[in-house]
Amino acid sequence: MKGKTALSERQVEVAAGTVVVTVDHVNLDYHKEKEPLPVLTDVSLTAVKDQLVAITGPSGCGKSTLLRIISGLVKPTSGRVRVLDSEVKGPRDDISIVFQNFVLLPWRTALENVLFGLSSRKDLTDEQKNRKAESALEIAGLQGFESVYPGELSGGMKQRVGVARALAGDPRVMLLDEPFSSLDDLTAERLRREMHTLLISPQTSVQSVILVSHNVEEIIELADKVIVLSSRPAHVVGELKVDLPRPRNKKSDEFFQWVDRVYSLLS
C-alpha cells in the first residue's frame, strides 16, 4: 500500500501497554452572568496503546466538550491533558477528530477536503500531500471518489471522507465525536464493523482512539474500555474494561450483559 512506511513510523516508537492519552483531573466551568457554572468536575482517564476508549453519559452532560478539551480546542479551567509525555496546549498535528456531522467543506472535492487537513504540514511537498490524501481515501474505502463533491456523496461516504481527512495527517490519537449517529442504521452498522479494524491496525499511525457516543450497543461493540459520566456537572461514575473477544456477536448473552452493566451505571 502506498504510504505504508510513512504511516507506520509513529507506530514503532511506542511499546505495547504505554499510556498514550492521559486526562488528569480536568475541571471545566462556564462563566455565565459572572457565576461559574461547573460542566466537568475532576475528570481523569487514560488510554493505552491500541486501546479504543469510549466515553458515554446522559445527553448534554458534556462528553463532547471533554473530547474538545482532549483535542486542545477547548481549554480546561484546571487540570491537564497529555499525549505521551507532552501536554496538550492547543490543537496539534498528532490529534485528529471525526465529527458527528462530518463538517466537510461542500465547495471542495473529497480529495481537496482531505488535503485541507494537511494544510499545516509544511514538512511535506504538494506531491507528498497528494499521495497521502489519496492513500487515506483509499484506506477509508473511497478509491475513485477523489474529485466528487460532498453533496454528491451519501452520508456514510461523507463520514468516510471525514475519517480519511483525520487519518491523512498520521495522528497518534483519533477522537470520534458520535461519528455514526447522523447515519441511517444500515450504513452506521457497516461503518462500525469496519472502523475498529480500520483504526487499530498497523496500517495506520493511530495509537489510541477515544469515542464519544450515547449508543450503548455501539460502545460495547467497539470499546476496550468504557468511561461513564454522570449528568451535569459531569464526573466519572464508572470505568469498565470490556474484555469480550472480537469480532463481537451482538446477539450473544454476554454482549447483552455488558450492555446492561453500562445501562445500570447510566441510570
Binding site: 456531522n101 463538517v103 465547495w107 485541507f116 494544510s119 461523507k158
Partner: protein, 531 residues
C-alpha cells in the same frame, strides 16, 4: 441659536404616519395577493412573475409618474394635500409590499395539506379559511418581513419627500410641508436643527424597531405552525434581549429577500417566465429608440421624440447617461465589496466583536442615506467633488446589504466548520480561502443583488440634488441616468423621463434575470452549507 424641537418632532411624526399608513396598506395588499397566488394555480402563474419584476425595478424612478398621475393632473380632485401625501404613501407602499407578499405566499404554500383537508372536511367557507388558517399561518412571516420592509421603506420615504420638495421649483410648492426628507432638504446643512433631526431619526428608529417591530415579531411567534424548542427558564427580559441580539443580523440578512432574492430560490420555470417580460421591455425600448432615430433621419418630428444623437451621445443623452451610471454603480459596488466582505467576515468570526458591533451597525444603517446628503456635501476631504459625493451617498445606501448578508452567511455556518482551520492549524490564508470566503459566498451574492438594486435607486438622489429648486444644485455629477431623470422631472419633460426610466428598468431587470439569477443558482448549488 435656538433649536426648533417642535418642527423636528412634527417632521418625524408626519413621516412616521406616512410610513404606518403605507405599511398597513402593504400588509393588506400582501395578504390578499399572497393568499390568492398560493391558493390558485392560475393566479400564481400571473402574480409571481409580476411580483418578481416589480421587486427589481428602480421604484424611485417611477415616483414622478406617480406624483403626476395622482397629484399633478390639472383639475384633479386630488390636486391638494391629500393627493400629494397619497403619492408619497403609494411610493413607500410599492417599496414595501412585494417582500411581504412573497412572505405570505411562501407561508401559505407551506401549510401542511392536513390542515387544508381539515377545513375541507368541515366545509369551511372561503372567508373562514382565510380568517382561521391562511392569515394566522402567514402572521410570523408578515412580522418578520415587515422589519425588512420598514428599513427599505424609510429610504424611499426620505427620497420621495426630498424629490417632492424639489418639484416645487416651477412656482408651485407641492403640499408636503413636514417630513424627515423635507427637513433634511430645508434645514441648512451643519445647522443645529439638522443635527437634531438626524438624532431624532436615530432615536425614532431605535424606539420603533425595538418596541413595535420586535413586539410584533414576538407576538406573531405564537402563530408558528411548528413548535420550536425554546428556553423557557430565563426571565422575559433576558429572553427579550437575547432574542433581539440573535435576530438583529438575521433580520437585516432578510432585507435582501425584501428586495429580490426569496424568489431566486424558486424554480427555473419562473425564471423563464420572467425572462419573457424582460425581453418584451427590451424590445419596446429598442423600438422607441429606433423610431426616434428614423424620425430624425427623415426630418420628421414625431411628437417631440428626442433625436438619435441626443439619445446616444449627448451628455444628458439617455444611453450615454445610462452607461456612465452603470460604471458608477459598479465601481461604488466594488469599493463596498472591498470593505464590506472582509469586515463582515471578521466581525462574525469574533463573538464579542459581533455582539458589540452589530447593534451599532444596525442603528447607523437605519438612517436613510438621502437624509445625510446635505452634510456629505460639506465633508472637506471630498473636496466638493460631486462624483465623490455621489459615490459616498450610494455607498452609505448599499454597503450594509453586503456587510449584513455576509455576517448572516458566516454566522449560519456550523461552529465545527468554523473551528476546522483551528483543528488542522491551517493558517489564516488557507482558512479564508477554503472556509470563510466560500462560506460567506451565498450571503455575499444575495447581498450583492440587493446592493446593486439599491445603488440604482440611490442614483436618483446622489447624482443630482437640488431640494430647494435653486439655480445652482447642491450637487450635480457630469452625467448619469439619475441626473437625467431628476432634470426631466423638474422640467416636466415626461417623454425623456419615460425613455430614461424605461431604459434603466430594462437594463436592471435584464441584468437581474440574465446574470444575477444564474450566478445565484450556481452559487447556492455548491456553496450552501448543508451536511
Amino acid at each position: 441659536m435656538t433649536l426648533d424641537f417642535g418642527l423636528v418632532a412634527l417632521d418625524i411624526i408626519s413621516s412616521w404616519i406616512r410610513m404606518i399608513l403605507a405599511l398597513v396598506l402593504s400588509i393588506l395588499f400582501a395578504l390578499a395577493v399572497g393568499i390568492w397566488a398560493a391558493r390558485s394555480k392560475r393566479a400564481e402563474a400571473v402574480i409571481l412573475p409580476l411580483l418578481d419584476i416589480f421587486q427589481s425595478i428602480p421604484i424611485l424612478a417611477f415616483f414622478p409618474f406617480v406624483i403626476f398621475a395622482i397629484y399633478g393632473l390639472p383639475g384633479s380632485v386630488l390636486h391638494n394635500f391629500v393627493g400629494a401625501n397619497l403619492a408619497v404613501i403609494i411610493l413607500i407602499f410599492t417599496s414595501m409590499s412585494w417582500n411581504i407578499a412573497f412572505g405570505v405566499y411562501e407561508a401559505v404554500k407551506a401549510i401542511p395539506q392536513d390542515y387544508i383537508d381539515l377545513l375541507s372536511v368541515t366545509q369551511a367557507s372561503s372567508w373562514q379559511r382565510i380568517r382561521s388558517l391562511y392569515i394566522p399561518a402567514s402572521m410570523s412571516r408578515v412580522a418578520y418581513n415587515t422589519q425588512i420592509s420598514w428599513a427599505v421603506g424609510l429610504f424611499f420615504l426620505a427620497a420621495s419627500e426630498i424629490i417632492s420638495e424639489g418639484q416645487g421649483g416651477a412656482g408651485e410648492q407641492i403640499p408636503i410641508p413636514y417630513g424627515i426628507g423635507v427637513g433634511a432638504a430645508a434645514f441648512p446643512p451643519a445647522s443645529a436643527d439638522y443635527a437634531l433631526l438626524i438624532a431624532g431619526i436615530v432615536v425614532a428608529v431605535v424606539i420603533w424597531r425595538y418596541l413595535f417591530l420586535r413586539a410584533f415579531a414576538l407576538w406573531s411567534e405564537k402563530f408558528k405552525m411548528m413548535e420550536e424548542p425554546r428556553d423557557v427558564h430565563r426571565d422575559p427580559i433576558t429572553r427579550f434581549y437575547s432574542y433581539v441580539n440573535h435576530r438583529a443580523v438575521s433580520k437585516l440578512f432578510l432585507i435582501a429577500h425584501g428586495m429580490g432574492v426569496s424568489r431566486f430560490t424558486s424554480t427555473i420555470t419562473r425564471f423563464r417566465r420572467g425572462l419573457k417580460y424582460a425581453v418584451l421591455i427590451f424590445l419596446l425600448l429598442i423600438a422607441l429608440l429606433l423610431l426616434s432615430a428614423l424620425s430624425h433621419a427623415g426630418g420628421v418630428n414625431l411628437g417631440g421624440l428626442p433625436s438619435w444623437s441626443e439619445v446616444v451621445t449627448d451628455e444628458l443623452g439617455i444611453l450615454y447617461a445610462l452607461g456612465v451610471s452603470f460604471v458608477r454603480v459598479w465601481y461604488v459596488y466594488a469599493i463596498c465589496v472591498a470593505i464590506g466582505l472582509p469586515l463582515g467576515i471578521a466581525i462574525s468570526l469574533n463573538f464579542k466583536l459581533y455582539d458589540a458591533v452589530s447593534p451599532v451597525l444596525e442603528v447607523i444603517s437605519s438612517v436613510p442615506a438621502p437624509i445625510l446628503l446635505p452634510v456629505i456635501v460639506l465633508i472637506p476631504v471630498l473636496g466638493g467633488s460631486s462624483e465623490a459625493v455621489a459615490a459616498l451617498v450610494i455607498m452609505l445606501a448599499i454597503i450594509w446589504y453586503i456587510i449584513f448578508n455576509v455576517m448572516a452567511g458566516v454566522r449560519t455556518l456550523p461552529a465545527d466548520l468554523k473551528d476546522l482551520p483551528n483543528v488542522y492549524r491551517t493558517g489564516r490564508l488557507a482558512a479564508w480561502r477554503n472556509v470563510y470566503l466560500p462560506g460567506a459566498l451565498t450571503g455575499f451574492v444575495t447581498g450583492s443583488i440587493t446592493a446593486i438594486g439599491g445603488a440604482w435607486n440611490a442614483l436618483i438622489i446622489a447624482e443630482y440634488f437640488n431640494p430647494l429648486g435653486s439655480s445652482v444644485p447642491l450637487t450635480e455629477v457630469g452625467s448619469g441616468i439619475g441626473k437625467a431623470i431628476a432634470i426631466a422631472t423638474n422640467s416636466a419633460d415626461y417623454l425623456t423621463l419615460t425613455l430614461a426610466v424605461a431604459s434603466m428598468t430594462a437594463l436592471i431587470v435584464g441584468f437581474n434575470l440574465v446574470v444575477w439569477r444564474r450566478l445565484y443558482n450556481r452559487v447556492t448549488k455548491r456553496y450552501t452549507y448543508n451536511r
